[in-house]
Amino acid sequence: MIRVAFKILLHDTAKYLALVMGIAFATLLISQQSAIFHSVMESSTRDIIEANEADIWVMKPSVETVDQPDQMAELTVNRVRSTPGVEWAVPYYQAIAQLRTSDGRTKSVTLIGVDDSSLVAAPHKVLLGSLDDLRRPDAIILDAAGFAAIFPDVPPRTGDIVEIGQRRAEIVGISHTGPSWTGLPRVHTRRSLAVEYARETLNPVTYVLARAAPGRSPDEVAKEIAKATGLQAHSRAGFKAKSQEWVLNFSGVAENFGITILMGVVIGVAIVGQTFYMFSVENLRQFAALKAIGVSNRRILGMISTQALFVSCVGYCLGIGVASLFFALFSPQLTGGLRGMFMDPAIFIGTGIFIVLVTLLSCVISVRRVLTVDPAVVFRS
């Protein structure tokens, strides 16, 4: 009877397409908005994501999110290094600074000072120049989107001389990083230079990045660091979660995206549910005829479930395909708001499960009408 189910489904092309397009639209709306929300949340912890060599972040107890660091004495690094279970620890500095171009234009930038000797937390993808160039005097690496913002209409290049904190800086490399929460250009340099650019006098650090010794859990070691130093210490994942929680609580992003995603869900449920319900109800007489002939309710349930699963799969594939195409076209760009945005596999799977569940739910609702229809209705003209 599965063949009969498919014939009933595919016979009315207009209704079939309406079902598929409704499901595809709902899939597109839900998956795309969820992916953008997820990407925005990821951007709020860009520094943690980029510095993936370290699995422990140590900071002052007052720090609530990665973008609002608090300064600590440089000696803190040694205290972390001396904690049992720590393989290595390096200083990390982060601040907002003013960059001035040779023609006098200024721009706020996120200044990231990485460890002078190991260059831990330096950008991984250097498009122009090389990471070793960062060891040169006054060397900075600027991200491609930041370069485009500072030097509009100029193709990415190295060699430009700028001022940061009234001190000379030479762009020796162009990096590619994902978007950050602040949207400011990201300038990577050695920490010793960064504190000078920020006009600091006490040679501070804002974070200590550390790695747990082999066989030790970063969470456990972080607890030991916190106990030994009186500082706040988290595993990389823990600090990422803490920072994202702060963004969710204080930025309003959760409400904004939540409403959009909820609208997607409601519209999706309405479109999918109503279209499938109408489809089943309009075929009520055909199902009644089958029941009169002697087709059991169980088989009719199987037929309708097959129809629901088939249209939800086709609609889902179409919708997720368009959403994927959207990200494939726009996210690899070096500049622009969608750079680095992506669709997490969990969103693929989650949206798929949701769409199938909604379709099956509407199938259950419409099936109630079909299963309770009086087969004697076929005797009425």
Binding site: V4, D12, A292, S296, A376
Partner: protein
């Protein structure tokens, strides 16, 4: 051989004005090997009676036996396979599945009872050929005339060789000529020594095809005419 035997069948439906007695104790028989017509004015209870015989309508009192099986005592889950195996239906509005072609529509009862599609289609095709639709087996219902659709419905009703054929106003939606042709084919193919055929109609032009004509009125069976008398009943 007694095909269908109804004894004191009665049923009433609740209405705003109180219970409405639609059947008031009907004694009715449809022997195997004969075509029995159930005739009478609209609302007299004909369709209700065949719905009870088919097990589609429950809650009736009295006894309904179909080839020895007491239909009123069958549970809902027993009725489904009983109908699938033993009863063929022809409806006034054909009720063909719009997405299935003629052969597929005719094959539905076989497929529903587990026959593989190729075998079912072969059997349905052969029956459609007998019904003069050999050249139309791949056509969808909307591509067929009313008479042709009703012939597909006849094929669907007979393809699984049921012991009881129930036809509800099979000619009501057809013009006179098509109706006569359909009834002629129905008579030729449906009447079988081991099958009882019940045709509900109020079209006097088709009474001549009957072996027996049972007259109903106001929920009661008034009289049964048999043999040649039945053929003349059209004069009523």
């Amino acid at each position: 051989m007694p095909g269908v035997v109804c004894e004191q069948v009665a049923i009433e439906f609740p209405t705003a004005a109180g219970p409405l007695k639609v059947l008031k104790g009907v004694d009715f028989q449809a022997p195997a090997g004969q075509m029995t017509m159930l005739v009478g004015p609209s609302g007299c209870g004909k369709t209700t009676l065949i719905s009870i015989i088919a097990g589609l309508l429950r809650g009736a009192t009295g006894s309904v036996s179909v080839f020895g099986r007491e239909v009123t005592s069958l549970s809902g889950s027993e009725l489904v396979p009983f109908r699938l195996t033993n009863i063929g239906f022809i409806f006034q509005q054909y009720n063909l599945l719009a997405g299935l072609n003629a052969a597929e529509n005719a094959a539905v009862p076989l497929v529903a009872s587990g026959t593989p599609w190729p075998t079912a289609l072969q059997k349905a095709g052969a029956l459609l050929d007998k019904l003069g639709l050999g050249n139309h087996i791949s056509k969808l219902p909307r591509q067929l005339s009313g008479g042709q659709q009703q012939r597909v419905a006849i094929a669907r009703a007979l393809v699984h060789e049921p012991r009881l054929l129930l036809c509800d106003e099979p000619t009501a939606a057809l013009d006179g000529k098509s109706g006569q042709a359909v009834m002629s084919l129905l008579r030729e193919l449906a009447v079988h020594p081991e099958r009882a055929a019940i045709v509900v109609t109020h079209d006097p032009r088709v009474y001549a095809f009957a072996d027996r004509v049972a007259h109903m009125e106001d929920g009661l069976l008034l009289k049964v005419e048999e043999g040649k008398t039945a053929a003349l009943a059209g004069a009523h």
